[in-house]
């Protein structure tokens, strides 16, 4: 087929509008990223030499260790918990099924300061032990292992949620066939269920790792230096936003290559599924095994959720209710309001992109996939990229336009809610895309084809075939984005309009001064408010 013919075919497809909208979105996401890549026009040779000769090798080693550790631990926790709660029967299973999602609402930086507050040398636990064991006793818990555990405890729900919905939607026939063919429970897990859930698990681990890679706040609490440390040192220490952007774009390149490799290795395999588990026969666990699984689930829940909540509550009580004024409720309202709108917006746009990718083969699919890169950048670096693009628009387009209309030019985009919302969806598009795409991959292509054969138009196929099948994926995506926006700090700080302070802003202000106790009340409120959609989505997924 000649290029001209293929171009014409591409253009004449009824999905042109969809693709054009998709490309526009990709362009919007890539603009701030390109601003950062553009920093390479002026390489900061001196800072690079300094970093390379001092800290950089160590930082890269630290980052790799952290990624491996977190990747391994979130996979182990997420997949094992998902398999147990979906496929096995043990005491408390029904409760754990949703309880294990709750740690999602705990921001990693809050977990970090709680863990340090409880377990550190100067903390109450070791103080108590010193009373028993003598005053010379004590260990410094600020090490690699603690950082890995902290990240894994708050990030495993990504893997858990995605793996769980994958296991749930694996057809019972597939697993039954496996059993009939003589697979033991273990074999059917490793040889059938796990490989089939791979896209979902990979998406979950990918989200967890991107968040780890881009994190600064959590590692800063432990003074554990990673690649982002170099980025922030260049920016805040050497005042070179250029060098920071250059370092950040390397981070991005790494993530892009990894994502690409993962997709490539999936090759042409398809992960379509039949009906969801209808009459699921769960494995009944024997007494000791059942007890062990219950214990395992309780332990994870206790560490990842109960402990931080208890510590936050006790700090909040100690700090008193001086913060609980009207202003505090404004913060809460702003948080909820922004998170709600951003979640709807982001999931809508992510759905559009997911469809674009489904209907595009090969190269175009990769183009649409690049829209997810925003998540891999450290929040404040991305925020600056966004700010630079928007203030460019303000100055180069809107200001002349306003003068032309006879108005006094003033910045319209900077400091508006729209800009902040744009920042949220640029950042969290990847979060929404994970569940949506893995849900979409499991829609058997023959279904919409049949609908079309029966004469249904595009909209009708979307409404009556796709959306009902995608509902669990959409719900998961909404919850993830809502909670992530609630927790988001750097973009909110930089781009919020006057007076639009949120709970995360309050936490930032308190922790910036080292007053973790005063940060407890906003943190607690943030977690509880973030739980709202988690609980709602669980109820919705049960209601079916």
């Amino acid at each position: 087929m000649s290029p001209a013919v293929s171009a014409r075919r591409w253009l004449s497809t009824p999905l042109l509008g969809l693709r054009a909208a998709g490309l526009l979105l990709v362009a919007a996401v890539l603009a701030p990223v390109l601003v950062l890549v553009g920093s390479w026009l002026n390489p900061e040779v001196e800072i690079w030499q300094h970093l390379a000769s001092t800290q950089l090798p160590g930082l890269i080693a630290n980052t790799v260790t952290l990624m491996l550790g977190v990747g391994l631990l979130v996979s182990l926790l997420g997949v094992s918990l998902a398999w147990c709660t979906v496929m096995c029967e043990f005491p408390g299973r029904a409760a754990f099924e949703w309880l294990l999602m709750l740690p999602l609402a705990v921001p990693a930086y809050v977990m970090a300061f709680v863990v340090l507050g409880v377990f550190d040398f100067g903390g109450p636990l070791q103080g108590f032990l010193r009373g028993l064991l003598g005053s010379s006793w004590g260990v410094d818990v600020r090490n690699e292992a603690s950082v890995i555990v902290v990240f894994s405890l708050v990030l495993y729900p990504y893997v858990y949620m995605l793996a769980r919905s994958a296991f749930l939607s694996q057809s019972s026939e597939t697993l039954e066939v496996a059993r009939v063919l003589g697979c033991s429970a273990r074999q059917s897990f490793f040889r059938v269920a796990l490989p089939m859930a791979r896209p979902a698990i990979a998406a979950g681990v990918g989200l967890a790792l991107m968040e780890t890679l881009a994190d600064f706040g959590t590692v800063a609490v432990f003074n554990y230096d990673t690649f982002t440390t170099a980025i922030y040192k260049s920016w805040f220490g050497f005042f070179s936003l250029q060098a920071a952007a250059q370092l950040a774009s390397l981070l991005l390149l790494f993530v892009a290559l990894t994502l690409f490799a993962e997709r490539h290795s999936r090759g042409r395999s398809q992960f379509v599924q039949g009906a969801k588990l209808q009459h699921l026969q769960r494995y009944r666990l024997s007494g000791p095994l059942a007890a062990a699984v219950t214990l395992f689930c309780s332990l994870v829940l206790a560490m990842a959720f109960v402990l931080p909540m208890l510590q936050l509550i006790s700090w909040a009580i100690a700090a008193g209710d001086s913060q609980l004024n009207k202003r505090f409720f404004d913060l809460l309202l702003h948080s909820l309001w922004l998170a709600g709108i951003a979640a709807g917006l982001t999931v809508g746009l992510a759905l559009l992109l997911a469809f674009c990718r489904r209907f595009s083969r090969g190269r175009w699919g990769n183009v649409f996939a690049t829209a997810q890169l925003g998540y891999a950048l450290p929040g404040s670096v991305l925020a600056v990229g966004i700010m630079l693009s928007f203030s460019w628009l303000d100055q180069q387009l809107l200001a002349p336009l306003q003068s032309w209309l006879g108005l006094v030019p003033r910045p319209l985009l900077m400091g508006s809610v729209l800009t902040l919302l744009a920042a949220y969806w640029i950042r969290f598009l990847a979060v929404a895309s994970g569940p949506l795409e893995s849900a979409l991959e499991r829609v058997r292509p023959s279904l919409p084809e049949v609908a079309r054969t029966l004469g249904a138009g595009n909209w009708r196929v979307l409404r009556e075939v796709y959306l009902p099948l995608l509902r669990p994926g959409v719900l998961t995506a909404l919850v993830l984005v809502f909670v992530d926006v609630m927790k988001e700090m750097p973009a909110t700080l930089l781009l919020r309009p006057f007076g639009w302070d949120t709970l995360a802003v309050r936490i930032f202000e308190m922790t910036a001064e080292g007053q973790w106790q005063l940060a407890a009340l906003p943190a607690l409120t943030l977690v509880l408010a973030g739980l709202l959609p988690v609980v709602l989505s669980i109820r919705a997924s049960r209601g079916r």
Binding site: N223, F236, I341, L494, R496, E509, G514
Partner: protein, 341 residues
């Protein structure tokens, strides 16, 4: 269907939300502040009560605020930049974000070493970074200067905050000014050798570690100790004013830094903005501004809070604070070489 409805609803409410950020009537100033809300709002409220001028502000770290001011250029709505640490003020001035303001009142209220030589920014409160020690295990007679903490006698007994914090960068920068780069690097290497545990993420943690017995001495900003002492007077940690005696340059005085402010280059109403700075430097506001965070007032006519007076007077390093900004990058490089994280 539901889905499209949701999308339309969210777009509509986003648009509606935009209308909410409209400006109030009457004269008003816009402040970008890296001093947190709790430490500025009460003062701004007082200013509004005194003058009728409304103040709107956003808070963030200094780095992002400078980036924002720079990106907004002449369009920026900001009139005043309030930030902590002279390094940030120096950088803002270097980037041309602050406008020169001549004011007799500021010159009178703020000592020259705490102002920009080119009058682009002015200090509003002083923060002293000094030595704290375990009152159980350390005889204060054994303490003398920052430099002396590099001695072998403190081996395995020192706690420091991370070198990534600008407070330590400014301290080392002024140490370079006083001792020369070579001697200062020896001192920093000595500190690193003496560390009991890897550096902490905050001054509070340093004080807690000393109280818990993880180490015996540390270097922190005095207000952190003041705050913790106010909560728990029995805390076994005490303060020592560093570098008060001995041969020069060891007798140069305690390292002081400032929180300060400047009028932005983009301000459309620099007179009104300057009025805010002058008001802040006057005795009435000085007392409140410093006391909110247990810092020292810059205005010599204003006495420090009762708690700070209890620690007695100290001689402050007279090197112009701008020096700390100028040498910040040099200090970071040196600390990186010395392995101080």
């Amino acid at each position: 269907m539901k889905f499209r409805l949701l999308l339309v609803l969210s777009l509509l409410s986003a648009l509606a939300a935009c209308g909410r950020s409209e400006a109030p009537a009457g004269p008003q100033l816009v402040v970008y502040s890296s001093r947190i809300e709790q430490l500025i709002k009460p003062i701004f409220d007082q200013f509004t009560a005194d003058t009728g001028v409304q103040i709107r502000y956003v808070t963030d770290s200094a780095g992002p605020l400078l980036a924002r001011l720079r990106a907004e250029g002449g369009n920026s709505p900001a009139d005043v930049l309030v930030t902590v640490d002279v390094g940030n003020l120096w950088q803002a001035a270097e980037l041309g974000l602050l406008a020169e303001q001549s004011s007799a009142q500021l010159q009178q209220n703020v000592p020259a070493s705490l102002r920009d030589p080119q009058s682009r920014w002015v200090g509003l409160s002083i923060r002293a970074r000094t030595i704290v020690y375990s009152s159980d295990r350390v005889d204060p007679a054994a303490l003398s200067s920052y430099e002396q903490l590099a001695d072998d006698s403190w081996s395995g007994r020192l706690c420091l905050r991370t070198a990534k914090k600008v407070y330590n960068q400014s301290l080392v920068a002024t140490m370079i000014s006083a001792n020369g780069a070579e001697r200062a690097e020896q001192v920093v290497r000595g500190w690193v050798d003496n560390l009991a545990v890897p550096p902490f993420s905050s001054d509070n943690k340093v004080i807690e570690a000393i109280a818990a017995g993880q180490c015996d001495v540390g270097v922190v900003n005095s207000y952190y100790l003041a705050r913790m002492k106010a909560e728990d007077p029995s805390l076994p940690v005490a303060l020592f004013w560093a570098n008060q005696s001995g041969p020069a340059p060891l007798n140069r005085g305690v390292h002081v830094n400032i929180s300060g402010a400047g009028v932005t280059a983009a301000s459309k109403q620099p007179e009104l903005a300057l009025q805010l700075l002058e008001w802040l430097s006057a005795p009435a506001a000085q007392q409140a501004f410093a006391e909110l965070n247990q810092e020292f007032p810059v205005n010599p006519q204003t006495p420090p809070s009762a708690l700070l007076q209890h620690w007695g007077n100290f001689a402050a390093d007279q090197v112009p604070v701008v020096e700390a900004g100028r040498r910040q990058a040099e200090a970071i490089r040196m600390m990186d070489r010395a392995g101080y994280r």
